[in-house]
């Protein structure tokens, strides 16, 4: 191994401590798992229901993130209007907001007495404490991840290809489908994967806004939190399952990045 230029030797110490700090808890979970019962624990009725709900809602919210987030990212990256510049920080706010606060905010928006919810309720539509609420909560927290990843990609790509496409006679909508989106595909994939992973792990906003009804709103993280009280072994096993899903996602993105380079 060669010494990278300009890197003092002592810097490896805090770096190694940091790696341990991240890796050790994962090892602790793996060590705690009751391996003989592992399979039966993660395939129990309630676990399966929770896992399926998690995957379904995370997929739905990722789709929603793509539908809303891609246009958002492009507008944020390309538009120079004062309104856009003003709105930008607010869009990214959920990134730093405690999820519980996000959940409360959603409750006072879409809840029965909420800003929009009261009209929806009058129309017979109830969102809070339904599976829809889970999807909305997950979308709320993961949308900024997608937008940030994609906006960065769009900014660094610039708009010169779009400019050329325009002079070749392509209408703005044609440019969007045939040039802008294909060029952003790598950023799109990593952004979507990030959003999916974040949605899968969502806990605070979901609990506050959607509650914990088995089969309806109790996603895997909620199930783990609940099991921790009654059946610690099941909680640990499910945790490891989430870690595994997360690892697959991160590796998928990482491999994609490497291939790009």
């Amino acid at each position: 191994m060669s010494q990278p230029a300009g890197l003092p030797r002592w810097i490896y110490l805090p770096a190694a401590v940091g790696v341990l700090f991240v890796a050790l808890p994962l090892v602790a979970i793996a060590a705690k798992v009751q391996w003989p019962q592992f399979f039966s624990l993660i395939t129990s009725e309630s676990s399966r229901t929770a896992l399926l709900l998690s995957l379904r809602t995370a997929a739905a919210s990722t789709t929603l993130c793509l539908l809303l987030g891609v246009p958002m990212a492009l507008v944020l990256a390309r538009s120079e209007g004062w309104l856009v510049r003003l709105v930008r920080p607010f869009v990214l706010l959920p990134l730093v907001l405690p999820p519980v606060v996000g959940g409360i905010a959603l409750l006072y928006t879409f809840g029965r007495l909420g800003l929009i919810g009261q009209y929806l309720d009058a129309a017979g539509i109830r969102i809070a404490f339904s599976t829809t609420a889970v999807v909305l909560a997950q979308t709320f927290v993961s949308l900024p991840f997608l937008v940030i990843a994609l906006e960065g990609a769009a900014r660094s790509a610039g708009d010169r290809y779009e400019m050329v496409a325009t002079t070749l006679g392509a209408r703005p909508t044609t440019v969007w489908w045939r040039v802008s989106l294909p060029l952003l595909a790598p950023g799109l994939v990593s952004g979507a994967v990030l959003a999916f992973a974040r949605a899968l792990g969502e806990f605070g906003a979901t609990l506050t806004f959607a509650g914990s009804r088995q089969g309806v709103t109790r996603t895997l993280p909620l199930e783990i939190y609940l099991e921790r009280e009654s059946d610690a072994d099941a909680a640990v096993a499910l945790s490891l399952l989430l870690v595994a899903v997360g690892a697959v996602v991160v590796l998928a993105v990482g491999v994609g990045r490497l291939r790009d380079e």
Binding site: Y161, M163, A165, T166, T167, L168, G169, L183
Partner: protein, 360 residues
């Protein structure tokens, strides 16, 4: 047939100009960085709205601030070719060239035929199935030209299309452009920094400085007798401006006198603003004031010393009126003997018969 007429004021870039390009004509735009060359192209392409002005192509109005007409860029039939070929990296070469016909709603088969046709026109038929990242710089620019032509533009705008290429590739592309640029009565406008582009491709030259046209004329004339500082520097000839007085003399603005021959076809008149033009090779360089015949001798300070294919070029400090410093081409032997360094004072001397006098 599509004559281009332009008048444009773009306040925040300091651009205010008006010119036209005849159908089938190729006009080169010269000028220092920031002179407004690219801004001008963007106004024509519809990528920028002028604060005041109009763009006409043939009998079509593309922009007119007076009536509020602004045809969007995609509907203008104005092609744009930049230094960077900017081929769409996710499409094959053939799909890149077929992009314009497809965007205009042609079917796949027709678009593919058009792509094959235009690739053949630029001698790049064998590249059709490649990806842009598999092309050399010259090949990529060839394909970019085919892609632009496939849109069948009425006006072709080129922004330093050869600047990024090595000498051999640039020569090949230059030859290609000469063949295709002004075909079908198309008018073409080319921003360049290269004298060779001007001489081989352009019919006429516009020189822009600080957003204004400071000189325009046939390419050969501008290169031979440049009126603007930029064109003089590009053409590599010495230009001194002043006023003609008795006996064929230009009195330069700082008082030095230049004796020369009035130009044969259009001699300047007495009292008229006049320029004296002479080649750097006609300048002799001395350390001490020379004795004898040369009447045109000035003391100058050496600014730069460069090697050239023909020997050594010595460029003096800027002239008092802001014009480029006078240049002298001397042999390497002479340079070795003189032992010059920047900052030293020397005498430039030119024989009167080497200087021609033209109306400014």
């Amino acid at each position: 047939m599509s004559e281009l007429r332009l008048r444009a004021v773009v306040a925040d870039r300091g651009v205010d100009l008006e010119f036209s390009v005849a159908a089938g004509e190729v006009v080169a735009i010269l000028g220092p960085n920031g002179a407004g060359k690219s801004t001008t192209l963007h106004v024509i392409a519809g990528l920028l709205r002028p604060d005041d002005g109009l763009v006409h192509v043939g009998n079509k109005v593309l922009s007119d601030t007076a009536t509020g007409i602004f045809v969007p860029a995609h509907a203008r039939r104005v092609g744009l070719l930049l230094q960077d070929p900017l081929l769409f990296p996710h499409l094959s070469v053939a799909a890149n060239v077929a992009f314009a016909p497809r965007s205009r709603g042609r079917g796949r088969r027709v678009a593919r035929q058009a792509a094959a046709h235009w690739l053949k026109q630029v001698d790049a038929a064998e590249l059709a199935d490649r990806r842009p990242r598999q092309l050399s710089g010259g090949q990529a620019q060839r394909v970019a030209i085919a892609r632009a032509l496939a849109a069948e533009p009425d006006v072709m705008l080129l922004d330093e299309p050869l600047a990024g290429l090595d000498v051999a590739a640039a020569a090949a592309i230059r030859k290609l452009l000469r063949g295709v640029l002004a075909g079908n009565g198309r008018s073409a406008l080319m921003v360049t920094h290269d004298l060779l582009d001007v001489l081989t491709l352009a019919d006429r030259v516009l020189v822009l400085e600080s957003g204004h046209i400071v000189e325009s004329g046939p390419a050969a004339t501008v290169v031979a007798v440049p009126r603007s500082h930029f064109a003089a520097r590009l053409a590599g000839v010495n230009v001194v401006s002043g006023t003609l007085d008795d006996g064929g003399v230009v009195r330069a603005d700082r008082g030095a006198r230049w004796y020369g021959r009035p130009a044969g076809d259009t001699p300047p008149q007495r009292g008229q603003p006049t320029i004296a033009v002479f080649a750097p090779a006609a300048v002799a360089v001395y350390r001490d004031p020379p004795h004898g015949s040369p009447r045109n001798t000035v003391a100058v300070t050496v600014a730069e010393i460069d090697t050239r294919a023909s020997g050594i070029r010595i460029r003096a400090d800027q002239q008092p009126d802001g014009a480029p410093g006078l240049a002298a081409d001397i042999t390497t032997d002479a340079a070795a003997e003189l032992q010059l360094a920047p900052g030293e004072q020397v005498y430039f001397s030119v024989k009167a018969q080497e200087i021609t006098l033209h109306p400014a």
